[in-house]
């Protein structure tokens, strides 16, 4: 048996100036004493091979400048990865989006692979053609910790007033037009399988929104009885992930109240139902804590307008980490330092 064996992927045979063997370890077994059996060599690659890939086993030259010789090829068995993952939701969930929309997000039914999203999400115009340079290129891919939710930003340089890309190329979206956000089926889940199907959602582009998210303007309907939920109307769509993270219902002692929260499809109405025991569980709902990083669809937060105009004082609010809306109608500010 040749002593200088190597395994390379099929494409690796085209490398000029000498093959680059795949990293791994070889072990050999001497021929058994039964007739007809020769030595056996076993290669264990350092990294798992990709199902379906073809690899070549070669004999490396024993002297510089010599030629390699291919012995055989082997195909890595293909796993029966039947597509089972699909798109659960595309956000925003509303029909209209502001011209300065900052992000889309896609939620999948299972954990996804990192690195397969680039080139597989698109923004298309009414004519079905991709709108060039409207989505921020990936990497980095912005996944949540569970790798089930992908955030795709529109080009911030084109959204932000005062930057050259905004001046020269205009905003990514134009008021009065319609666009379609498209997710290809070619994205792969954590098992390496493609999606069952792609997904898309169309939007009408409305006027830009350049105002802070202001909890003082919300329509907050505190629950009147034990079974009534707390209902908050924001007045405009907010970012779904940030709503789930930034709102918290507190009892009279400042502790989170257990319960179930939900947000409507348009991300404008948030509902909280207390699961605290007792007939008067609604009274445990005393205040609503709002983290000031909460953003709307254009990236405007409680703290500031996304691209804050320094000549407009109303574009920035007081430097608070949160505001608290109380059942008795007050709005309290939470600063980073403990209040006196």
């Amino acid at each position: 048996m040749p002593t200088q064996l190597a395994v390379v992927p099929l494409e690796g045979l085209a490398v000029r100036g000498g093959l680059v063997p795949t990293t791994g370890s070889w072990s050999r077994e001497q021929a058994r004493e039964r007739a007809g059996e020769g030595d056996t060599a076993c290669f264990t690659p350092r990294f798992p091979p990709v199902p379906g890939d073809v690899h070549a086993v070669v004999v490396l030259p024993t002297r510089p400048g010599g030629h390699w010789q291919e012995l055989t090829r082997a195909r890595v068995p293909t796993l029966s990865t039947v597509p089972s993952t699909h798109v659960v939701a595309v956000d925003p969930g509303c029909v209209q989006v502001p011209e300065n929309l900052l992000r889309f997000s896609v939620t999948f039914s299972a954990a996804m692979e990192e690195g397969s999203a680039a080139g597989r999400v698109h923004l298309r115009g009414a004519d079905g053609a991709d709108l060039p340079e409207t989505l921020l290129p990936m990497p980095p891919e912005l996944w949540d910790r569970a790798r089930r939710r992908l955030t795709v930003l529109l080009e911030p340089g084109r959204i932000k007033r005062g930057l050259q890309p905004h001046v020269q190329s205009g905003p990514p979206l134009l008021e009065g037009t319609s666009v379609t956000f498209v997710v290809d089926a070619g994205l792969r889940d954590a098992a390496g399988a493609e999606l069952i199907a792609g997904a898309e959602r169309s939007f009408l582009v409305a006027a830009p929104v350049r105002a802070r998210v202001d909890p003082a303007t919300w329509d907050v309907r505190w629950s009147a009885s034990g079974s009534d939920p707390l209902v908050v109307h924001f007045g405009r769509p907010l970012d779904r992930a940030l709503v789930h993270r930034c709102l918290q219902v507190l009892d009279g002692h400042g502790r989170p109240v257990p319960g179930r929260a939900s947000l409507d499809a348009a991300s404008e109405v948030w509902t909280f139902t207390s699961s605290a025991p007792g007939d008067e569980s609604h009274l445990k709902v005393r205040s609503l804590y709002v983290d000031s990083v909460l953003e709307d669809l254009a990236g405007n937060s409680v703290r500031r307008v996304f691209d804050r105009d320094l000549t407009r004082p109303q574009d920035a609010g007081p430097p608070v980490s949160a505001v608290v809306l109380t059942r008795d109608g007050r709005m309290l500010r939470v600063t980073s330092a403990p209040a006196v």
Binding site: E11, V15, V50, G162, R255, R260, E295
Partner: protein
């Protein structure tokens, strides 16, 4: 400016030691007397920075060049070309070998790999499993009930944030699905700078992390803003950053194209950092990598981008560049510092400093990636 040799990390029993994903790389600038160096590797999937103590290497010289880098990496790692993605690059301070972090494979077979390229053009996988390592996590650890659909957390978060308002303690849970993504690393003023952004709120967070990692919350955190033409102030996620001007400043590129400068002193106090925009690169143009070098005693900055050719900017013009305050126009003067396009060096993405007179780059040519060394005289 010389910095003290960072002590080697020791194995951390409870902290994670295995890289889950490939991301930016950075060597601590000085090595041990034996030739050992500390390599910082960002694990973007785990929002963690690892510090590995690499085995000692002998001093090296000469340029590093690997033609057909993409094909050779694929062959070395046993995959097709499309399953090899470079996610970081750094140069060993002693041996001058080039280290690449690679995202390799797909699906269940996906794994990060660290590959070392030598001056002889050889490529080899660097084994990290048995190396002394320490780490720092950028995000709070998730709670046991990390299950979020439309179900509210019951306040059983074992690490609630307590804030006070009017004498009442508020125990506010943090839903843990938010994840930071690390976009850049730099060693500035004796500490590690970690640039990152979030998958949720649009923010730019720059953390100054003392090394050795001491297991506590990662250092000082500042939010980075920039002011566009004197009127609009926005958050600015950083893509890449390097120390500048003898380590007294930081140059950074943002996701929305400007090149900005801010003094290191601004990072020490926490709070907000407002970068001074020194250059805009124009539309449809993501800055990729920054590196500085010296030619004839003068410092220059190189900026690679997704679309524009390699840009060369004299450091002296950055120091003298006033903040861009005029409204943006079509006039090239409104773009900031004068810059020279190096058309003779197309297709360059990753860049790292080999030494002050040489830059190692990944250059696309002939349908493949190539690792090449450019001398200052050619820039």
């Amino acid at each position: 400016m010389s910095t003290p040799t960072p002590p080697a990390p020791t194995a951390s029993g409870s902290a994670p030691t295995a890289l889950q994903s490939a991301g930016p790389l950075l060597f601590a600038p000085d090595a041990s007397p034996a030739g050992g160096a500390v390599l910082f590797a960002a694990d973007v999937a785990a929002a963690t920075v690892f510090a590995f103590a690499l085995p000692p290497e002998l001093p090296g010289a000469g340029d590093v060049c690997v033609e057909q880098l993409g094909a050779k990496l694929a062959s070395l790692l046993g995959v097709g070309r499309e399953d090899v993605l470079i996610r970081g690059m750094a140069v060993h301070p002693v041996s001058r070998t080039v280290h690449l972090s690679i995202a390799r494979g797909r699906g269940a077979a996906a794994a990060p790999a660290l590959v070392r390229a030598g001056a002889d053009g050889s490529l080899a996988v660097v084994e990290l499993d048995d190396l002394p390592v320490s780490s720092v996590a950028l995000d709070d650890a998730p709670t046991a009930e990390d299950e979020r659909q439309d179900v509210w957390l019951d306040g059983a978060d074992d690490a609630p944030q307590v804030v006070q308002i009017h004498g009442v303690d508020l125990q506010v849970s943090r839903v843990p699905l938010r994840r930071s993504t690390i976009t850049g690393l730099a060693w500035v003023d004796g500490a590690l700078l970690v640039a990152g952004t979030s998958n949720e709120e649009f923010t730019s967070r720059l953390r100054r992390v003392p090394y050795p990692f001491d297991g506590s919350a990662p250092g000082t955190s500042v939010e980075v803003f920039h002011v566009d033409h004197g009127r609009y102030e926005t958050e600015a996620p950083i893509r890449s950053l390097i120390p500048f001007d003898g380590g007294t400043g930081v140059l950074a590129t943002y996701t929305c194209t400007p090149v900005v400068h801010f003094p290191v002193a601004d990072l020490r106090d926490g709070g907000l950092v407002r970068g001074r925009t020194v250059a805009e690169l124009g539309p449809m143009n993501q800055p990729f990598s920054l590196v500085s070098y010296e030619r004839d005693g003068e410092e220059f900055l190189l900026v690679s981008g997704t679309r524009h050719p390699l840009l060369k900017i004299p450091a002296s013009s950055i120091a003298g560049q006033a903040p861009l305050t005029a409204p943006p126009t079509e006039d090239p003067q409104s773009l900031g510092v004068p810059r020279e396009s190096l058309e003779e060096h197309p297709g360059i993405t990753w860049m790292a400093s080999l030494d002050r007179g040489h830059v190692v780059v990944v250059q696309e040519e002939g349908g493949d990636l190539n690792l090449r060394t450019l001398a200052a005289a050619a820039l």
